[in-house]
Symmetry: C2
Subunit: 261 residues, 2 copies
Amino acid sequence: MTVFMVSSGQDTSSQPLHMVISEKLKEKIEAGLYEPGERLPSEFDLGELFGVSRTTVRKAIASLSQQGLVTTQRGKGIFVTDPHKISFSMSNPLLYFDAALKQQGYTSRVQSLRFQRIQAPAEVKRKLALTAKDAQVYWQEKIYYADDTPIALDITYYPEATGQALAEPLSQGFTYSTLVRNGIHLRAAKVSLESIPATYELSEYLAVPLGMPLLVFNYVACGGNRQPAVCGKTLSRSDWTCYTAEIEVDSPDLSILENSP
Amino acid sequence: MTVFMVSSGQDTSSQPLHMVISEKLKEKIEAGLYEPGERLPSEFDLGELFGVSRTTVRKAIASLSQQGLVTTQRGKGIFVTDPHKISFSMSNPLLYFDAALKQQGYTSRVQSLRFQRIQAPAEVKRKLALTAKDAQVYWQEKIYYADDTPIALDITYYPEATGQALAEPLSQGFTYSTLVRNGIHLRAAKVSLESIPATYELSEYLAVPLGMPLLVFNYVACGGNRQPAVCGKTLSRSDWTCYTAEIEVDSPDLSILENSP
DNA sequence: TAGTGGTCTAGACCACACG
DNA sequence: GTGTGGTCTAGACCACTAC
């Protein structure tokens, strides 16, 4: 077949076929030609439409899926996503996931995956400033939902006393709100933000494709006594979440740059 | 061949083959059996090793590549990555990319892709609080390097006066440092952080695989007069960068949660 | 039963690196 | 020329959905 020669011939100056197809579909979606919720043609049909193999179509669709533009459902089809974005503030007040969700018009829910007492891993001991050699902590994993969509997996470690005293409310609610409601006021936090591609396990928990970017919010929060009260991380879907902050600058110190050209 | 039947039979209870292979290789790398810089067996050889097709090997490698564990080089092979992570502080002082790079032992460099006067897009007009209907701004795109590795693409918009006055230093240096050095002191900034998968274009600029997570740091920075002095975004490789902050909480307001269960 | 996406195979051509 | 990764094909089986 000459088709093979033509379609597989890569012009040095052009993108791969799967990217061309991906871009074309993206334009159609963003132009509204496919509306949110609508089903795209099947992989087989798209292959015939563009004159390429199903493998190539799948690679194009994988890219769109990773961008959060479409979701795929086995046995059903490929559907255009209805875009959402929830902002979480890192300034005052300290980050309350449930408050942010409610403020932005979503119902919030928590599904607890585990809540158990374990020997503190080294990193957790350091973050919580635990000195006992066999210090115990409570380890919780839970999923945050916004309107029945899983948007984040939270992994939290509580000091033993806290976990024991608040086992019941903690296992059902959002971390920060539950602590504050029970008299543990958080006054400061050290946080960091990074991003990782979804592993196979995470992709199943959060109903995202393998490799979709996730935001990782690492935190160590301190109570009124300046002692660490809780630490952990929140892994959230990058298509649903972002973090905001307002930064004030006292007096920039550029001395480190003095020797620069 | 019976091999086909065996290898293609998916146990309901198990992961796909490409994930199994990916995990096995990941374990070997993290255990140090493959050292940073070392070359892995070729895709063909890995296929024979694991008894799978080259396509399946490629899918496994793609996952490792997206996680930043390996890099692929056409005509040469697959190489284990030497991991790096640079922290950028969002607290005081305001984010200076070059200062952070220098502090953490890297040499910094900027490659300017474009620096030109354009009519301000609507979003830029809003962010810079420009009122003139046909307001002009300077648009700059540049790549930040750490030790000759491209780690970020920065897109910046300057008000017309600033861009005109500082065309030369701006086109060669880091945004914030150059502004401050030239008397434009930044006092506050509104920022947001999100994450996207690398597009085809970005993957070429930053030498990363298609779909690798990128951190997007959006900013609007104000000068001493509280007027916006610059806005833009920095897209950085998630395998090389993270953002940190220290948060102080005045008095948490939980009133919005009062009606919660 | 028919149709869909998920996985995998075997084999082809290309662009690139290296000796 | 040989070997490598990058792209693409044609075709297979599976699990799931819907009728």
